[in-house]
Amino acid sequence: MSYKPQLTGSWWLKHRFFKAYMLREATVIPLAFLLCSLLAGAFSLQDPERFQHWQAFMSNPLVILVHTLALTTSLYHAATFFVLFPRVMPIRVGNYQLPARYLVLAQWGAVWLVVALFIWLFAFGGQS
Amino acid sequence: MQVHTFDVVVVGGGGAGLRAAIAAAETGGNAVGLVSKVYPMRSHTVAAEGGAAAVTRGDDSLQSHFDDTVAGGDWLAEQGVVDYFVRHAHAELVQMERWGCPWSRQASGDVQVRRFGGMKTERTWFAADKTGFHMLHTLYQTSLKYPQIQRFDEYFVLDLLVEDNQACGVIALEISSGELHLLRAKSVIMATGGAGRLFRFNTNGGIVTGDGMAIAYRRGVALRDMEFVQYHPTGLPGSGILITEASRGEGGVLTNKDGYRYLQDYGLGPETPLGEPQNKYMELGPRDKLSQAFWHEQQAGRTGKHGDSDVVYLDLRHLGEAYLQERLPFICELAKAYVNVDPAKSPIPIRPAVHYTMGGIETNADCETSIRGLFAAGECASVGLHGANRLGSNSLTELLVFGHLAGKKAMQRALGDSPCKDGAESIRQLGSQWQERLESMMRGGEPGRPRWPELKAELLKVMEEGCGIYRDEAGLTQALQSIRGLRERYERVQLGDQSQIYNTDLLHCLELGCSLDVAEATCLAALQRRESRGAHQRLDDSCQQRNDQQYLKHSQVFYQGAAPARLEWQDVDTHLSAPGERHYGSKGSGLKGSGAEGSDGGQHA
């Protein structure tokens, strides 16, 4: 005699927490697009004509827009991930539990380190 | 009516009931029924904060725990029972540890003990400030290991099946369907908790309505020492929610509205320095003395106001935020939520609230009642441990020590005794009797029949006015009369809900019926005890002192149906320690070596 309301497809619209979650999950879409583009680029390397097509495609403003979107959403995803990480992998040093915000900061530090490395490699060709 | 058959049926899924069910399962047999009107982990044991006592440290002794308990109970405890208790306490707490209870620890990994009011030495084990919560969940989870234990969650027990003065089972209402069930068993253990909800300001949960006491009482078992109702000095105003005594053990101090530590004016001084609490002095005096001191301050107009309650203040500020979060996190949470106070920043307003019923279903030292095969343990029972006043942290241990004993004895009885008669006829009778009773409550639409909320409101008022921290002849006579009137009106009570499924209106109404019977016993015993002892304090001229000549006796109240209840007196077992005086504060010390808390004339075997 009990009843149980069924979850409808729009369940995630009911609360901002769920919307944020869906947004986090949706960041995968532009990222997937970027990956496909890169993959296409890799294939087109064998054929100069194709490579030109690809370059043209890549400089299409719409494509650039989607790729910028991919960058920002990935940063957003990273941000949510970095906050979750210390809860999934709490780190203890002896009796001392490392506070979560240090771990979050450390992860961002690592990101900037990698970015800096790339800039150094590409912009300065590894020379300084 | 469905009939189920067990070796032992346990009524109550709190600390005592779960411990008893596990002990019964471990003793043998193959069927233990565990009935509770709420899921076991909702039982009010969950709310206990402070801790559980057992002699632990090298500088402590069983004798000292015994002396504290007997003196704390103003010599009305059964001394053989206290002796059994202190001897078995430690092993029970160790057993809990082995079952996973997260007791707070010292840096070495050994169990930590804390100070507690009325205990001379640190001997209270605790699990942060959620001791009862952790004990209850540990017991509930451990009970899942035993396939012999079959639970009946959300079944409300109505009555006992008794044949030839032998317990043969219980009849229970399945709350989800409204159906009656009969659980047959060769022994039955009552573990239904206290009756704090007889009073308006109390620290108890809504389910603590004295059901089991009333059920056994109606079948002829005496309710013993019911006049002893403990007030806790530190409840939150309004709700009555408890602020644990551990907050004073950790160094919290009580002040009146002028910021003065008034306890030194009531024989509990001299004032102990801030941050250096001392056992049995000031804030660590026993509960009854502290609650009584509040009453005097209130009379003298030195209490503050919170909403419409008179209050004094519990000041924890000097302990600092970090320490409070480590040791008293739950207190911080409660104070913030329910009175909007951050204990690290301001004192918490508090007032006394009814906390514990020392009396209950009379049992012998084996937890068995005057009905063969009917046992009782925990707060609903009067095995004789607490006498006239319970010491904080003795009762959680009691649940374990006597829950264990009751479970074991009940199973032994069930395995040894010949089974009850087939009893088909009496089962049918009991079933139809309750069916009729419930139907008559449900039958609606008749004018002039009372509903339970109005009767309950009156009960609370009567008990508060006539049977509070201080009592007198006139007030008690009036209270007793009012309660008899309420009982009469209850006979014609009518429900506002006629349904079968989760009819909580019916449950509250049944609970009120139990509370009314228990209230009559409480008021009768309080009226007849014309002395002041422990938690029972009288203001009438000739009753302000303890009177061992006449009243070194247990009260026993017997149910008489619709007629007024009857009272008898029973001797107290004092064979180990003769009555002395209770002293706290500086008067309590200076008697080094005697082992008693100032038991002037105390002889110790």
Binding site: S2, F17 | V94, W99, Q106, D110, I207
Partner: protein, 247 residues
């Protein structure tokens, strides 16, 4: 006085739940539970709901308040100046009014063997184990669950798949797995590794958001994923079937 709405369900009268409005008195400290009790005692005796401790420790009184799972006794009317709608906990079958069926919740709890399983060479049982405060700190937060079920009402994965073991049960399993006195992890990993175990979770994280006791079940579930991955790898290399350990 102010008005609040309650989702009623009276199965003996009608198969349809319906909203009902009530006028209740309010002060600064009126909790949702106080309001419900006022309705029951003064306005409508047929309203059914569970409660007991009224101090946020027994776990009886979970309800949805404006769509969010809350303990009725620890949520105050002062927090809702506008509309206030009280409904039964989501994702569980409703038996009547605000009373939900907790059977599946308890079944999931029981399935993870939530009790200490001592090893064969456990020490002499008349003495307590030692456990340092640091060892205790590893699991203590997960031992604070009051079984209120709010996290199940917050979890869309449980809403979609009631066989999902769910946040509180996994947190409890994790609590014992992390306990230095316990040796039962292998037995508990089997249900956690299974398809209705930790891997059903997509780290929505709302369970931890609504938990009234700071248990952070989402952390437990996702730490459980790390454990589960480890235990599956170990099984893979030791050549045993996945999910079959400890049976």
């Amino acid at each position: 006085m102010r008005s609040i709405q309650v989702l009623r369900y009276l199965p003996e009268e009608s198969p349809q739940p319906f909203l009902q409005s009530f006028q209740v008195p309010v002060t600064d400290s009126t909790s949702v539970l106080d309001a419900l009790n006022y309705i029951k005692e003064s306005l409508d005796p047929t309203l059914s709901f569970r409660w007991s401790c009224r101090m946020a420790i027994c776990g009886s009184c979970g309800v949805m308040v404006n769509g969010i799972p809350k303990l009725g006794c620890k949520d105050f009317l002062r927090n809702y100046p506008n509309d206030l709608i009280i409904e039964p906990l989501a994702h569980l079958p409703v038996e009547r009014d605000l009373v939900v069926n907790m059977d599946s919740f308890l079944r999931h709890l029981e399935a993870v063997k939530p009790y200490l399983i001592e090893g064969k060479n456990a020490a002499d049982s008349s003495q307590p184990n030692r456990q340092t405060p640091a060892q205790m700190a590893r699991y203590q937060q997960f031992a604070n669950c009051i079984n209120c079920g709010l996290c199940y009402a917050a979890c869309p994965q449980f809403g979609l798949n009631p066989e999902f073991t769910g946040p509180a049960a996994i947190a409890l399993a994790h609590r014992y797995n992390l306990d230095s006195r316990d040796s039962g992890k292998a037995q508990r990993m089997a249900p956690l590794n299974s398809k209705n175990g930790v891997w059903s979770c997509t780290f929505v994280g709302f369970c931890s958001e609504v938990c009234p006791k700071g248990v952070d079940p989402a952390a437990a579930v996702n730490q459980g994923k790390v454990e589960s991955a480890k235990s599956m790898l170990i099984q893979l290399f030791s050549g045993r079937a996945i999910g079959g350990a400890g049976q």
